[in-house]
């Protein structure tokens, strides 16, 4: 993940994101409606800040031309010898909101690593947790969103018991 990412907040991106979570609230796509609300403009759903992945040049979960990709093509995985448990799952996500997002905002997102810890689990073997903290500041340097994510690498696929 890049240390600093520019994250432009765009109305069409918000509209597509809201559709994907099944949220038909017009504040996410109807400018005329949004003007009459307390917020006063189109804003983004509360979990939208993670869509910063679209703007991370190094994001590892996006297919790219002429680079190995671990999803299926001719074979179930196009990277040979990949362990069966590729293991990266999302364990926790926490947001703090300082003001509503607005189309036209350009956030500067800085990422820093947090804690790392381990746990034994019956369902997936050894678990390694890694915390990532992101601060999202607007064009005036004001803090808009703080995001703390915890990822987990599992020793084997999670047992569906």
């Amino acid at each position: 993940m890049a240390d600093t990412i520019k994250f432009p907040i765009e109305a069409s991106h918000i509209m597509m994101f809201a559709r994907s979570i099944g949220d038909t609230n017009p504040i996410y796509h109807d400018e005329e409606y949004a003007k009459k609300t307390e917020v006063g403009h189109i804003t983004a759903p509360p979990t939208f800040p993670r869509a910063v992945a679209q703007f991370d040049p190094d994001y590892h979960l996006r297919w790219r031309p002429n680079q190995p990709w671990f999803g299926s093509g001719k074979n179930p995985s196009s990277i040979e010898g990949k362990p069966k448990s590729s293991g990266g799952l999302h364990a926790e996500q926490h947001f703090e909101y300082h003001r509503p997002l607005k189309p036209g905002d350009v956030l500067t997102v800085t990422t820093k690593p947090g804690k790392t810890w381990e746990k034994e689990s019956k369902r997936a073997g050894k678990l390694v947790f890694t915390e990532t903290i992101q601060e999202m500041r607007d064009q005036n340097g004001e803090l808009v969103i703080t995001s703390r994510g915890v990822g987990v690498k599992t020793e084997r696929p999670v047992d569906q018991g």
Binding site: H13, M16, F17, R19, S20, I21, G22, D23, N25, I27, T37, E38, V39, T43, P45, P46, T47, R50, A51, V52, A53, Q54, F55, D56, Y59, L61, R62, W63, F70, G71, S72, P76, S77, K82, K84, S85, S86, G88, L89, H90, A91, E92, Q93, H94, F95, E96, Y97, P100, R148, R156, P157, V158, Q160
Partner: protein, 140 residues
């Protein structure tokens, strides 16, 4: 519509069915919008044959996003100050999810009324898939 502190009490709840019979297409829409193209969420061949799961499954953030829809419907737009969850079980195509908020505390912070909510989303078998908390600004 925002909530009023005067009309709210500890123990009040709000719940919504946030998805019925989750489709693989919705999961693909979430991948496209969020930018998380992990094949575990859209590539059945990879997920079953290489990763060892019974089928593709939803992004944790899709479930959190649908849980957030219940929250903004309850507390109003632009009112959340915090929202955090743990992902406790995977969500699969075909799942029906119900998200619920429970009022845990109503307090004042710098002259502003704040509600603290417990947040939980369960699947059709009552299994908790997302568990966490949220806080929001209230009208007086």
């Amino acid at each position: 519509m925002a909530l009023s502190a005067s009309k709210l009490k500890v123990g009040d709840t709000h719940e919504e069915v946030v998805v019925e019979d989750l489709s693989r297409t919705q999961i693909v829409m979430y991948a496209g919008a969020s930018g998380d193209y992990n094949p575990l969420h859209s590539d059945e061949v990879y997920t079953t044959q290489a990763a060892g799961y019974p089928s593709v499954f939803a992004h944790g953030m899709l479930t959190m996003g649908m849980t957030g829809k219940m929250l903004t419907n309850y507390v109003g737009d632009g009112r959340l100050t915090k929202f955090g969850v743990r992902f406790t079980n995977q969500v699969w195509p075909g799942d029906t999810l119900t998200a619920k908020a429970t009022v845990e505390d109503i307090r004042e912070e710098g002259g502003q009324k704040i509600v603290d909510l417990k947040v939980e989303t369960v699947n059709q078998d009552g299994k908790v898939v997302v568990s966490g908390s949220a806080s929001a600004r209230l009208d007086p």
